[in-house]
């Protein structure tokens, strides 16, 4: 069972006075709608049969159970299907108060109820194109033995084909993205490399070698950006991400705030202030922050947030959105003038995520990944062209045309990448239920 609704489901096509044959299920079973005053999915067990703990729960639930039972219900019953285990399958829903958006979660037969005014539904699948089918008598069904994809979302459409409501959305979970495990392992390895790079930085700072410290800083920062967490993008590492690579924006006191930590603070120490003592203290802080981050066990999620990583990997445009907002404006340049080097690392991160998503995206939107990859290459070409004698030029110092070429390439890639979250997550246009 997927999404449950909490508003009335006026469905006049299903009469509550008699049994109605809805049609033939794909596996040769017959589907009937059966009005049922007291056939709701949950049953009230006699309290004496329950352990004490559940008895209390049951007592708490009683008011809502009584309310549900007072309402007319309808069950869709499949009789005589091929599935030997399920000769008689019941899906039940109250006609008002609560109803299931989609009654079956099998690929086929897939069935569900829809309220009056909904003349067709679009069913979305994990890794398969969406299908739009007609609704008859408030009921819809897809019977197609060739269909193996898992349904995950339903949109109700009115007579003009407008989305009346996005009832349930497809949200790709980590389980659907096997290669994500590889990615997590990569992240762990990258973090360990960052930690080694930052140790080198600490060594150069304590040796009071400014030039080497600056070089080590850039190496470490680019390694960090390879993970795709510029300025704490999308909060996958929670507050730690912001402390490791955030800017002073939002801190009371700005650059002088004691809460300003991480790569950009060290950048300020080295390039703008030439203050190696401050750099030493701030590098020690950064080492501590990385240690904290690495110590968090990486299980099903990256550390820091529950679900954040799933959201973020599904949104590969976020990395470059942050780049255009913070890096290409010069906003996160605290003196090193290496914003364009950061862009190359951002592109690498996006590219890695695209590779991860390609098997899922290719069936949904052929050519999208290929086009995006071409546009990412164009970014790199434009960015490397800005180098002068192999060194980076600050964004704010670029000749106008060179800067515009980078902006154009990033902007074009973003317009392509922006389609991906919609392809992978709930889509459609929520609107009032009419």
């Amino acid at each position: 069972m997927l999404g449950r609704l909490r508003e009335p489901l006026p469905a006049s096509g299903i009469v509550t006075s008699g049994i109605r044959l809805l049609g033939r299920a794909g596996d040769r079973g017959l589907l009937y709608a059966i009005p049922a005053e007291h056939l709701l999915p949950h049953r009230i067990a006699p309290p004496r049969c329950l352990p004490a703990s559940q008895r209390q729960t049951e007592r708490d639930l009683l008011p809502s159970l009584r309310r549900d039972y007072a309402e007319p219900a309808v069950c869709v019953v499949e009789v005589g299907g091929e599935d030997p285990v399920a000769k008689r399958v019941e899906y039940c829903a109250a006609l008002s108060g609560a109803a299931d958006a989609m009654l079956g979660t099998k690929a086929t037969p897939l069935l569900g109820l829809a309220p009056d005014g909904v003349t067709s539904v679009t069913v979305r699948f994990l890794v398969a194109p969406a299908r739009t089918i007609r609704v008859r008598h408030n009921f819809y069904e897809i019977a197609d033995p060739s269909l193996t994809a898992t349904p995950c979302g339903v949109e109700w459409l009115d007579g003009s084909g407008n989305v009346v409501r996005s009832v349930a959305g497809c949200n790709y979970q980590l389980a659907e993205l096997g290669p994500l495990d590889n990615y997590r392992v990569d992240v762990v390895h990258e973090l360990i490399t960052v930690r080694a790079d930052v140790s080198n930085l600490a060594g150069a700072v304590s040796a009071e070698n400014l030039a080497e410290a600056e070089s080590d800083w850039l190496t470490a920062h680019l390694e960090w950006l390879d993970i795709g967490q510029d300025d704490g993008a999308y909060g996958c590492f929670g507050e730690l991400g912001g402390e490791i690579d955030g800017t002073a924006a939002g801190l009371v006191g700005g650059n002088a705030s004691g809460q300003f930590t991480g790569f950009h603070k060290i950048e300020l120490d080295l390039w703008k202030d030439g203050n190696l003592a401050a750099a030493a203290a701030d590098t020690a802080t950064l080492q501590q922050l990385l240690k904290t981050l690495i110590a968090i066990p990486i299980g099903t999620e990256l550390p820091g947030t529950g679900g954040g990583i799933a959201n973020w990997v599904l949104r590969p445009h976020e990395v470059l959105e942050d780049a255009t907002r913070d890096t290409l404006t010069g906003d996160d340049d605290y003196g090193s003038g290496t914003g364009l080097a950061s862009i190359t690392a951002d592109v690498a991160a996006v590219s890695q995520m695209l590779g991860l998503l390609a098997p899922v995206l290719d069936p949904l939107a052929p050519h999208l990944v290929a086009r995006a990859n071409g546009q990412l290459s164009a970014i790199l070409a434009a960015v490397y062209q800005t180098q002068v004698d192999g060194t980076w030029v600050a964004v704010s110092d670029l000749p106008t045309l060179a800067r515009e070429r980078v902006d154009a390439a990033v902007g074009a890639a973003l317009e392509t990448l922006a389609r991906i979250p919609d392809l992978l997550t709930s889509t459609g246009n929520i609107a009032p239920l009419t």
């Binding site: 909490r6 508003e7 996005s166 959305g169 800017t247 924006a249 939002g250 801190l251 009371v252 700005g254 445009h317 976020e318 959105e321 255009t324 907002r325 290409l328 404006t329 010069g330 906003d331 964004v395 704010s396 800067r403 515009e404 902006d407 902007g411 973003l414 317009e415 922006a418 979250p421 919609d422 709930s426 889509t427 459609g428 246009n429 929520i430 609107a431 009032p432 009419t434």
Partner: protein, 433 residues
């Protein structure tokens, strides 16, 4: 500003026609000359010397100017009055360095605002002086709904030259950064905020130009932003740059019961006596990353804001005036608990006294270094108690999903002084008694 721009476009459109006309003539003349012919109007004036029709802007109809908004009253104009289409927000630093010089500046400011909001013919200085008026509104200045709303910043009260520290409103401070802010020092803070609103941009800018001319020694513009109200599209509340209707739900301050509890400092408020009839004015320049926003699905946009984009109705409702019962949606299934409108106004008994009265304007200010359009919201809200209302609201919004798409970059906290009561009164007079 879009009105500027529209006017500009219509002018350039007219200009383009004019140019085409003029350029067309030599083309024809050349052809005629090659064929040995003459222009049809030959014999009259030289067509290459003659002028085309006068260029007039589509929106220049003088009768479209708004009537005057009364200047005198217990409260300043420009707060509860309906926001007209154009606005100019200018923040000044005071250069006067004695109480007398400050008083003189405030009196001059009052005189100019009184005259400009009423309209009339500027004084004639004769031919031996530059004209008294810029002339940009013509010889007879129309009121055009002009309001000049004056707010004083904490720094003015804290300036030892004026001895006003004891009179500072109790909640007034410098605006400090919220976690999602990115305040730029050159457009943050300031001593005096002038909110100049009018029916047309030229009226607002004319007023700013006049006031700056008459107060040059006493105060200098630190930063300014021009704003505009979009027309209704197609109806209801004007849309912001995100395409959404913004600031729909304001408390009903037309009801004195509400206004005395949410908007004005009264004799029951813990504030200096001079401040009665005034209100805290929060002015925030909020950049909106419209390119990023335009790359987000409508579904996400609507769940971030909490309203349908097309109609402006709250999610789960049909009309812009419908109110979703949050108590019945305590799980956030109809409207996410993190939706902007739900966080800012939870519509509970506990939060009702933190409601703010908003009066925002859109701004449009060129591009940033990355070539993105520099557009956003000039957020304005007025309230009886800065901390209990605005700060509480903004604290609830920390980390809301929309923070990726917006960035507060400047502005400040000000205290909008009580109204100028009559022709002998002036802005802030009771402050010096």
């Amino acid at each position: 500003m879009s009105l500027d721009r529209r006017e500009f476009l219509s002018r350039t459109g007219a200009a383009a026609v004019g140019v085409a006309g003029v350029l067309g003539a030599p083309g024809i003349a050349d052809a005629e000359a090659k064929r040995g012919g003459k222009h049809p109007s030959a014999g009259a004036t030289d067509p290459l010397l003659a002028d085309g029709a006068l260029q007039t802007a589509v929106v220049s109809d003088p009768s479209a100017r708004l009537p005057a908004v009364p200047f005198h009253g217990p409260h300043q104009a420009g707060i509860t009055s309906a926001p007209p289409p154009a606005a100019c927000f200018a923040v000044f630093n005071v250069t006067a360095d004695t109480p007398g010089a400050l008083i003189g500046t405030l009196q001059t400011l009052t005189e100019r605002a009184r005259f400009l909001t009423h309209g009339g013919v500027p004084v004639q200085l004769g031919t031996v002086s530059p004209p008294s008026d810029s002339g940009t509104l013509g010889p007879d200045i129309p009121p055009d709904g002009l309001t000049v709303t004056v707010g004083l910043g904490a720094s003015l009260f804290e300036n030892p030259a004026f001895g006003l520290a004891d009179q500072k409103p109790n909640r007034l401070t410098q605006m400090t950064s919220f976690p999602n802010d990115n305040l730029q020092p050159d457009i943050t803070g300031g001593d005096i905020l002038l909110q100049i609103c009018a029916g047309q941009p030229d009226t607002a800018i004319h007023a700013l130009r006049d006031i700056a001319k008459h107060t040059r020694a006493g105060m200098q513009i630190a930063y300014r932003m021009d704003g505009f109200q979009a027309p209704q599209r197609p109806n209801g509340v004007p849309r912001n740059h995100f395409g959404h209707m913004d600031g729909i739900a304001n408390p009903n301050v037309a009801d004195p019961y509400v206004a005395d509890r949410l908007l004005w400092v009264t004799d029951k408020t813990d504030e200096p006596a001079w401040a009665r009839g005034g209100t805290y004015h929060v002015f925030r320049i909020i950049r909106m990353f419209i390119e990023f926003w335009d790359r987000v699905s409508l579904y996400e946009q609507q769940t971030m804001i909490g309203r349908y984009r097309a109609s402006g109705a709250m999610l789960g409702t049909k009309s812009i005036t419908d109110v979703l019962d949050f108590a019945k949606d305590s799980q956030g299934k109809v409207m996410p608990l993190t939706a902007h409108i739900r966080l800012s106004n939870p519509r509970t008994k506990a939060t009702e006294n933190s409601r703010i009265f908003r009066r925002g304007y859109n701004y449009d200010n060129g591009i940033d270094l990355a070539g993105n359009l520099n557009m956003g919201l000039l957020f304005n809200c007025f309230q009886q108690d800065l901390v209990r209302q605005f700060v509480a609201n903004q604290t609830r919004l920390i980390g809301e999903p929309m923070v990726d798409y917006i960035s507060p970059i400047g502005g400040g906290y000000f205290f909008a002084v009580p109204g100028v009561r009559d022709s002998s009164d002036w802005y802030g007079r009771r402050l010096f008694e």
